[in-house]
C-alpha cells in the first residue's frame, strides 16, 4: 500500500525541480515549461488529496487548472514570439533594458 505522503513527496520533488528550472534557465521557453511543471506538481498533490478523502472535488479542480495552464501557456508563447521578433533572442540575459 502506497501512503499518500509518498505521492506528496513526488509532488514536492517536481515542485522543487520546477523552481530550479525557473531560477536557472537562460532559455525563455524552458522557463515557461518549468512553470508548467510547477502547476502540474500542484495537480498531482490535488489528485492525491482527493483520493485520500475519497471525494471528487480535486478532479474537477485539476481539470479546470489544466485549462488555465493551457491558456497561460498560450499567452506566454505568444509573448515569446513577439519578443523574438522584436529582439532576435530569447536569452534572458539580454533583457536588461529595464534596470535599476
Amino acid at each position: 500500500m502506497v501512503p499518500i505522503s509518498a505521492y506528496l513527496i513526488v509532488g514536492v520533488a517536481l515542485f522543487a525541480i520546477g523552481t530550479v528550472g525557473v531560477l536557472i534557465s537562460r532559455n525563455l521557453i524552458v522557463l515557461l515549461m518549468s512553470v508548467e511543471l510547477m502547476l502540474n506538481s500542484a495537480n498531482l498533490c490535488l489528485i492525491a488529496f482527493s483520493r485520500s478523502q475519497n471525494i471528487m472535488d480535486g478532479h474537477a479542480f485539476v481539470f479546470l487548472v489544466l485549462t488555465i495552464a493551457a491558456a497561460e501557456a498560450a499567452v506566454g508563447l505568444a509573448m515569446v514570439i513577439t519578443l523574438y521578433r522584436n529582439r532576435e533572442t530569447i536569452n534572458i540575459d539580454r533583457f536588461n533594458l529595464l534596470k535599476w
Binding site: 525557473v22 500542484a42 498533490c45 490535488l46 492525491a48 497561460e72 513577439t82 519578443l83 529582439r87 529595464l98
Partner: protein
C-alpha cells in the same frame, strides 16, 4: 448521481455578466465600425463601466451560486474600487488612442474590461477554485496589456517580465491552495475554516503541513502585491508598460491581491489560531515583508529619475503600509485597509493620469522634464502636487487619514494584547519611512515649482482625462475632510465576510 444545481441567483451576478457582455460589444464595435471616429470606442467603454456601477449599486447582498459567489459589503466595496480604477484607466487612455494603439483599440479596452470582470468575480468568491480562476482572469489580460506596444522594446520586455513573475506566483499560490484543500477536505473557505479548526483539535501537528501552504501562498500573493523579496518586477513593469496600463495595474492588481489575501488568510485560516486571535505565525512573516516594503520602496525611490519607476517604488511602499492594517486582524484594521485602498486609488490614478497626459504631449517620463511646469501649466502642476502630497500622507488630504487609520488600528491592537507588541515596531518603521517618502514626493514638486528653468510645454488635456483628473482631485480632497460615508461602508466589511474577532 444527482444532477441538482446548488441554489443560485443570477441577479447577484448581473454587474459582472453585464460587464463581460459589454466587453464583447466593445470587441465587436471595433470590428464593425470604421476607424474615422476614433474616440467613440473609448466613450463606449466608459459608458459600460458607468452602467455596471449603477447595476452594482442596485444589486443586493446575497449568494449568487451555491457557496461560491457571495455579494457582500466587502465584495461591493472592492468592486467599486475596481470599477473606479478601470474607469480612470480608460479615461486617461484617450491620448494614446490616436497614436500608439491605433490598430487594436477594441482589444485594448476589451481586455481592460475583461480584467475588471475577473477582479469583480474574485471579490465575490468564497471558494478557492473560483478565487484562483478570478485571479488568473485578472492577470492574464494584464500580461497582454503590459506588452501592448509591440514595437517598443521596453514594453515587450515589461510584458514578458510580468508574465514570468505572474505565472510563477500563480503556480506557487496553486500549490498552497492544493495543500489547504488537502488539509481541510473542501474548497469552500467558510467550510475550510471549520474543518481546519476541528482537525486542529484532533491532530496537533497539522500546523507543519500548513506551513508549506502558508509559505507558498504568501510567496504567491506577495508577488502580486509587490512585497519584497518579490518586488523586482514592479519598477520594471511600471516603466515599460503603457502608462494607463501601469495605473490600472497599480490599483487593480494590488487590490485583487489584497482581496485574495484577506479571503485566504484572514478568513480562511483565522480559526487556526489560538484563542487570542493573534496571527503570530504568519502575521509576523507578513509584518517582516511589510517592513522591507516600506524601507526598500521609500529609500530606492529617492534616486529614481523616471517618474514611472518612482511611482513603482512608491507603490511597493504603499503595499507595505496596507499590510500593516491587514496584519492587525481586528475589525478596525480591516476597515482601515479598505479605506486606504480607496484613498490610494484616487491619488494614484490621478497622478498617473497627469503623467499620461504629460507623456502624450512630450513623450518623456523623466522627472527632469517636469521642471518649471508650474509656469506653463499651473493647474496641472498644482493637481499633481496635491496627488503627490496625498500619497505622502499630508493632512488634510485623504492619504493622511488613510495612513492614520492604519497606524491607529495597529497601535490599538498592540495596546490591547501583550503578545502583539511587535506591532509597535511596524508603526514606528511606518512613521519613519513616511518621512523619507516626503523627500521624493516633494522633489517633484520642487522641480515643478522652484526650478530656474522654464518649461516649454503647454499641456493640452483632453476632456475624458480632465474628467478623470477632476474626479480624483475631488476624491482626494473630499474624503480627506469627510471620510464618514466611506468609513461606514468599510466598517461593514469585517463582520460581513465572516471575520470573527474573538
Amino acid at each position: 448521481m444527482d444532477f441538482q444545481l446548488p441554489p443560485y441567483d443570477l441577479k447577484m451576478m448581473l454587474p459582472e455578466i453585464f460587464l463581460f457582455l459589454w466587453a464583447l460589444v466593445v470587441f465587436t464595435f471595433d470590428l464593425l465600425t470604421n476607424r474615422k471616429k476614433e474616440t467613440a470606442i473609448g466613450y463606449l467603454t466608459l459608458v459600460g463601466i458607468l452602467i455596471t456601477g449603477v447595476l452594482l449599486a442596485f444589486t443586493g447582498y446575497g449568494r449568487g451560486f451555491g457557496n461560491m459567489f457571495f455579494n457582500d459589503p466587502m465584495a461591493r466595496f472592492f468592486k467599486i474600487i475596481f470599477l473606479g480604477a478601470a474607469f480612470m484607466a480608460v479615461g486617461s487612455s484617450f491620448g494614446i488612442l490616436k497614436q500608439r494603439i491605433r490598430n487594436h483599440r477594441g482589444e485594448y479596452f476589451g481586455l481592460i474590461l475583461l480584467s475588471t470582470v475577473g477582479m469583480m468575480f474574485l471579490a465575490s468568491s468564497q471558494e478557492l477554485l473560483s478565487l484562483y480562476i478570478g485571479l488568473e482572469l485578472t492577470t492574464i489580460p494584464l500580461f497582454v496589456l503590459a506588452a501592448f506596444y509591440k514595437d517598443d522594446k521596453l514594453s515587450v520586455e515589461a510584458g514578458i517580465k510580468y508574465f514570468i513573475v505572474g505565472a510563477f506566483s500563480s503556480a506557487l499560490l496553486l500549490y498552497g491552495i492544493s495543500f489547504l484543500y488537502g488539509m481541510s477536505g473542501t474548497t469552500d473557505i467558510v467550510q475550510m475554516k471549520i474543518n481546519l479548526a476541528i482537525t486542529h483539535l484532533t491532530f496537533t501537528n497539522i500546523g507543519m503541513t500548513l506551513v508549506i501552504a502558508v509559505v507558498t501562498m504568501l510567496a504567491g500573493i506577495g508577488y502580486k502585491l509587490g512585497l519584497p523579496p518579490f518586488h523586482q518586477w514592479v519598477p520594471d513593469v511600471y516603466e515599460g508598460s503603457p502608462t494607463p496600463v501601469a495605473a490600472f495595474l497599480s490599483i487593480g492588481s494590488k487590490a485583487a491581491g489584497l482581496v485574495a489575501f484577506a479571503k485566504i488568510f484572514v478568513n480562511g485560516l483565522s480559526a487556526f489560531h489560538g484563542p487570542e486571535m493573534l496571527p503570530n505565525d504568519w502575521g509576523q512573516l507578513v509584518a517582516l515583508m511589510a517592513i522591507l516594503a516600506m524601507v526598500l520602496g521609500n529609500t530606492v525611490a529617492i534616486w529614481q529619475t523616471n517618474i514611472k519607476r518612482m511611482l513603482g517604488y512608491s507603490s511597493i511602499a504603499q503595499a507595505g503600509y496596507i499590510m500593516i492594517g491587514m496584519v492587525t486582524m481586528n475589525v478596525y484594521g480591516l476597515s482601515s485597509v479598505a479605506f486606504y485602498m480607496f484613498a490610494y486609488m484616487f491619488a494614484n490614478m490621478g497622478a498617473f493620469a497627469i503623467v499620461t497626459v504629460f507623456e502624450d504631449k512630450t513623450g518623456s517620463t523623466q522627472i527632469a522634464s517636469y521642471r518649471g511646469l508650474s509656469k506653463s501649466a499651473p493647474g496641472l502642476s498644482l493637481t499633481l502636487a496635491i496627488f503627490l502630497l496625498s500619497l505622502a500622507g499630508i493632512p488634510p488630504l485623504a492619504g493622511f487619514l488613510a495612513k492614520y487609520y492604519v497606524f491607529a488600528a495597529a497601535v490599538e491592537k498592540a495596546n490591547s494584547a501583550d503578545s502583539a507588541s511587535w506591532l509597535y515596531w511596524l508603526v514606528g518603521v511606518g512613521l519613519i519611512t513616511t518621512v523619507f517618502s516626503l523627500y521624493y514626493y516633494a522633489n517633484i514638486i520642487k522641480q515643478m515649482y522652484f526650478s530656474r528653468e522654464d518649461s516649454p510645454y503647454k499641456i493640452p488635456v483632453s476632456a475624458p482625462a480632465m474628467m478623470v483628473i477632476a474626479i480624483c482631485l475631488i476624491g482626494v480632497i473630499l474624503f480627506g475632510v469627510w471620510p464618514e460615508p466611506i468609513l461606514q461602508f468599510a466598517g461593514d466589511i469585517p463582520a460581513s465576510f465572516g471575520f470573527i474577532a474573538r
